[in-house]
């Protein structure tokens, strides 16, 4: 992967930034240039909630390339407190502990490595909230 391709998403992945339509107020993740609700082109950066709950989840046992060494790993569909949904790996818990409705929060983690000399990619994963 080229460095710019990774670098241009950094802000959005590291800080969980999406878009909010200035016209109709709809929020989106990932970011977009045209609102899919009202087709306005006036969208601004929007900071997502970093906490939410698990709506659905799975365990990936046959992973794609560059994810082999992490398998098996859990991936959840999470509804954030602001209502947006996000797909993310679930970490710091065993598969048996995962339950629908569980509270989770974003955490900064390594995502994958491109061989031994390529880019090491970081980004968000979600872990259980300790109340």
């Amino acid at each position: 992967m080229s460095v710019p391709r990774y670098w241009r998403e950094e802000k959005y992945r590291y800080r969980l930034i999406g878009s909010r339509c200035s016209k109709c107020g709809e929020i989106f993740f990932p970011r977009r240039l045209v609102c899919s609700k009202c087709r306005s082109r006036q969208l601004r950066d929007y900071k997502l909630s970093e906490k939410g709950r698990i709506v659905s989840w799975t365990i990936i046992r046959n992973p794609p390339k560059e994810y082999e060494k992490y398998a098996p790993y859990a991936v959840g569909l999470i509804e954030l407190d602001d209502g947006l949904k996000i797909i993310s790996q679930l970490v710091d818990l065993e598969p048996e502990e995962i339950k629908t409705g569980m509270r989770v929060e974003a955490t900064f983690r390594k995502i994958r490595e491109e061989g031994s000399s390529g880019i090491i990619e970081y980004g968000y994963k979600f872990r259980p909230v300790i109340e």
Partner: protein
């Protein structure tokens, strides 16, 4: 608009064809379709394929395959719409003939998956999703299906066994099918005790990895003996990210493609005699029954469990085994579905033949339901 007919079909068996290349498979299926139709000349060739750029590092299939068939000087290109490539290519071919700009179109669906390692296949399939925010999380296509599958079970109180029956019925139908990859029966217990592919989806609920090619020839409808008329084709899309859909258990692209196709065909759902659906895993087959309008939301698996979708039921579905048992050579799958409808409607389905087949519907999905094609075919 002109009436359009399928004038010929040709299939290769779906298998791991170690001794055959992508082009070999494309040529083999095309020659069978040419022999079936008796038509040698085409002005347009569409190739439906998903993985060649990544798996074989081969592009420009349009020119490559038309030359391999000895055809020169025609409009030839590939069409990609994820695993709905076959259905979308068919749709384009029908439009070309209906509009009068083409008089004879050859559509070839071809996929050669066994040239890749399993993790490369998973990566190829995940290319249908946003690389930056979905595939990036390490989720696979079956993983996305699994998110829907679990949510659907909890939402509608449907059991794992009810959904698994979709795979069982597919395998019942594949028995005796010459081109099927897995032409044998399996029990629901065997499905539910198979290893997890992506929880809660079991390995035996998923389509496998296979190579195959299917070809169809489209011409203006003339009312000849073995012609099958294309009553309607339609395609549609949905919100690309599963995360942004209001209800993840509804495939909106299926609803709207079906709506358009039925409107064009001018027939009701009751007039449909058989279905070929896109069950890349069992839940997608169940959702397809619902979103095409054949079952209420949450009740798709009831039709399967009760036998309505069986060969002798009221609405035989996946009559040669569907993606699960016939096989799912991604870009070719949609063309297999069309060819299978033609075989049923002509009465040439052999051991898989259903009775009184007059109208058939094929549904082909791409991504996690973000692209959908629907075709309705009729025998006179």
């Amino acid at each position: 608009m002109r009436r359009v007919a399928v004038a010929g079909i040709g299939l290769t068996p779906i298998s791991e064809h170690w001794d055959k290349s992508l082009v070999d498979l494309a040529v083999e299926s095309s020659c069978r379709a040419i022999d079936d139709s008796g038509s040698l000349n085409f002005d347009t060739l569409y190739v439906a394929n998903v993985g060649s750029a990544f798996i074989q590092r081969q592009q420009n299939l349009g020119s490559m395959i038309s030359d391999a068939l000895g055809i020169k000087g025609i409009n030839s290109l590939s069409i990609e719409a994820s695993s709905a490539s076959g259905g979308f290519a068919f749709n384009e071919a029908v439009r070309a003939v209906a509009s009068g700009v083409s008089d004879s179109v050859l559509v070839i669906g071809v996929e050669k998956m066994s040239d890749a390692l399993p993790e490369e296949v998973a990566s190829t399939l995940a290319m249908s999703e946003d690389q930056e925010y979905i595939a990036y999380t390490g989720i696979t296509n079956f993983g996305l299906n699994a998110l829907i599958h679990r949510f659907y079970m909890e939402c509608y109180g449907v059991t794992a066994s009810d959904i698994a029956m979709f795979a069982v019925r597919c395998h019942e139908h594949a028995e005796g099918c010459n081109h099927a990859q897995y032409p044998f029966k399996i029990s629901v217990d065997r499905v539910l005790t198979s290893p997890m592919e992506s929880d809660p989806i079991h390995a035996l609920e998923c389509s496998g990895i296979g190579d195959g090619a299917a070809a169809v020839i489209l011409k203006p409808f003339e009312g000849k003996d073995r012609e099958v008329e294309v009553l309607a084709t339609a395609t549609s899309t949905d919100i690309f990210h599963l995360t942004q859909r209001r209800d993840i258990t509804t495939l909106n692209a299926v609803c709207s493609a079906a709506e358009k196709a039925f409107r064009t065909a001018g027939i009701s759902r009751k007039e449909v005699d058989l279905l070929e659906l896109h069950d890349d895993s069992t839940i997608m087959g169940v959702l397809s029954l619902e979103d095409l309008g054949f079952a209420e939301k949450g009740k798709g698996s009831t039709l399967v469990v009760s036998g309505v979708t069986s060969r002798t039921g009221e609405l035989p579905t996946n009559t040669f085994g569907g993606l699960k048992a016939r096989g799912n050579p991604i870009g070719a799958t949609g063309i297999y579905q069309i060819s299978e409808l033609v075989m049923q409607l002509r009465g040439e389905a052999g051991k898989c033949q259903i009775e009184n087949a007059r109208v058939g519907l094929a549904e082909n999905l791409g991504g996690v339901g973000s692209s959908c094609s629907v075709a309705i075919l009729r025998r006179l």
